[in-house]
Amino acid sequence: MSCWDTFQAYALRSLGVGERILPRDDFTVCQEVVLIGSGLLWNLYFAAVALVLGFFLATGLALLRNSQRRVARKPAEWFIFLFRGSPLFIQFFLAYEAFVLLPRAGIPLDLGVVEITVQTGWLTRAWAGATLVLFLNTAAYSAEIFYGALRSVPQGEVEAAEAYGFNRWQKFRHVVWPTLLRLAWPAYTNEAIFLFHATTLVFFSGFPAWRQQGDALYYASYFADKTFNPFLAYPIAAVYFILATLALLGLFRLGHLRLHRHLPAPARPPLRFRLRLLR
């Protein structure tokens, strides 16, 4: 079987397309490269969905956390503490065990006129359940970052907006939010990378890999277990993750440029990525 054949058979294996049976013996480097790369699609999917959705929830949570009202502030604080104070690994286990307890037949919801049944089975699948956990988790961490940035938004900018007669929404949309993002962006970049790396935990923490469709590390450990040789599969996975991390960093650099597009090029502060241990 040539490497091109292997590519055709396994390039989309993690999504269930192509050859059903995983290689069982006579493993080749080509197989490892293709399958581990195929698994990376899952990591990218988890990270993309969790980050995009988490971004909006985090903004909301940060605003709630900054609220004067106790009823708004306390739930946000508890949410953030719950997800930041416990290991993601435990959160995955717990969420999976909780999801499987939901009634299989679905939960009937009486909406007055019509009664619909909410299906719950898909929550036990990694594509939904694990993404949900990652989404809540990154929302909590990002909310903490955004909250810190929100508190540092210069008062003068807000007052200037008020002087212009901006209403609350305009004030937030055109003044507070952009400044908040500019302030939070480096730390948020850091959080995004942490989250991307955390997606490797999904298939080691209770969520089963259906039809052996797993992420990059799932296939890497599959090969390492079968060949009993960690020196090939894991470095391949490592290279993939380095490349993907660099790509992610590139995206955040674009975001950084956009956030500072009002400044002339020389005045833009560079986005220096320095690992921050804010997780």
């Binding site: 013996d25 006579d26 503490f81 719950l82 930041r84 104070g85 416990s86 290991p87 993601l88 690994f89 435990i90 959160q91 286990f93 717990l94 065990e97 909780a98 307890l101 810190g148 990378i193 991307f196 790396h197 955390a198 490797t200 935990l201 080691f204 590390l217 890497a220 450990s221 390492a224 079968k226 060949t227 009993f228 040789n229 960690p230 020196f231 894991y234 996975a237 490592a238 993750f241 380095i242 991390t245 660099l246 990525f273 320095r274 690992l275 921050r276 241990l277 804010l278 997780r279």
Partner: protein, 291 residues
């Protein structure tokens, strides 16, 4: 444990619970919380030492050493920590056995890697297969400690390198102007001053380390996750105390444990920050909420 536990089938209510929660298996579960704390206590200083070495190496004027330090400190930015936890123990174990094999059994003719297997001579096994079981367990735990120390050492190196950069340059120049040697400037000025800059990062690092401890389970150590899964699983009447699938409740216990541990760590570091910033004008000392 209690005398009335001798016949579990007859127990009911509180007595059943008293006996169930004190089986030897549960005692092993409780003591595995100690395993987690032990890992933290050993790993934290080991990682700090490695991190210090990494930070110093990356500042070295000897280029190969500087590169080595830079690679070490930057590897954790691109590669997920879980990958290291899977790779390091297995790689280290095979690496050590490979070296011992070549030292102890030079006359061995067969290849070490036969398809899908790693075979070394009996004398090269670590630990020797004749060793008592506790040595096997300690060895497994040590491999885990090394993996944790390596990864968190790299994180710590990042923090410490940043802290070294943060020490005001004027301080170092003044010391040099007083005629201190490079080593003296380093040990007497830079190192004592960097801690206050390193503390926020180190406190975050501790929190990350705490939250990485359940990964011990992936390394085959019988930690709290292992016992929670083992105890929580459905028990048929083959067991003394049959019950349904209780894993959710056991994991809830773990969740509470980690929340409490996090809360206590936060409080501890807050105190430490206040102490360290005594006499230093920093954001931490001037505002009521430390940044």
């Amino acid at each position: 444990m209690f005398s009335f536990c001798s016949d579990p089938d007859t127990l009911e209510g509180a007595a059943w619970w008293a006996c169930y929660l004190t089986t030897r298996k549960h005692l092993l579960f409780y003591s595995s919380f100690g395993t987690v704390l032990l890992l933290l206590v050993i790993t934290a200083p080991a990682a700090l030492t490695l991190g210090f070495g990494g930070a110093v190496a990356s500042r070295s004027r000897f280029l190969p050493l500087a590169w080595l330090g830079k690679i070490y400190t930057s590897m954790v930015r691109g590669i997920p920590d879980v990958l290291f936890f899977l790779f390091v123990p297995l790689a280290l174990d095979q690496g050590l056995e490979w070296i011992r094999h070549h030292l102890l059994c030079p006359e061995w003719a067969e290849p070490i890697r036969q398809d899908g297997n790693f075979v070394v001579c009996r004398e090269a096994k670590l630990p020797l297969s004749s060793a008592p079981e506790w040595m096997h367990e300690i060895y497994g735990f040590l491999l885990a400690v090394v993996a944790f120390a390596l990864v968190f050492g790299a994180f710590a190196a990042n923090v410490l390198a940043g802290a070294m950069r943060a020490v005001p340059h004027g301080q170092l120049e003044t010391a040099a102007a007083y005629g201190m040697s490079r080593a003296q400037v380093f040990w007497r000025i830079l190192v004592p001053q960097m801690w206050v800059y390193a503390l926020p990062g180190l406190s975050n690092l501790w929190q990350i380390l705490v939250k990485a401890t359940p990964l011990l389970f992936l390394l085959g150590v019988e930690d709290i996750v292992y016992w929670a899964r083992e105890l929580g699983g459905t028990k048929t009447s083959v067991y003394d105390y049959p019950h349904g699938d209780w894993r959710l409740y056991y994991f809830l216990v773990l969740l509470v444990f980690y929340l409490v541990l996090t809360k206590f760590s936060e409080m501890g570091f807050d105190r430490l920050t206040r102490r360290f910033s005594r006499g230093q004008k920093t954001i931490g000392s001037s505002s009521p909420t430390p940044a």
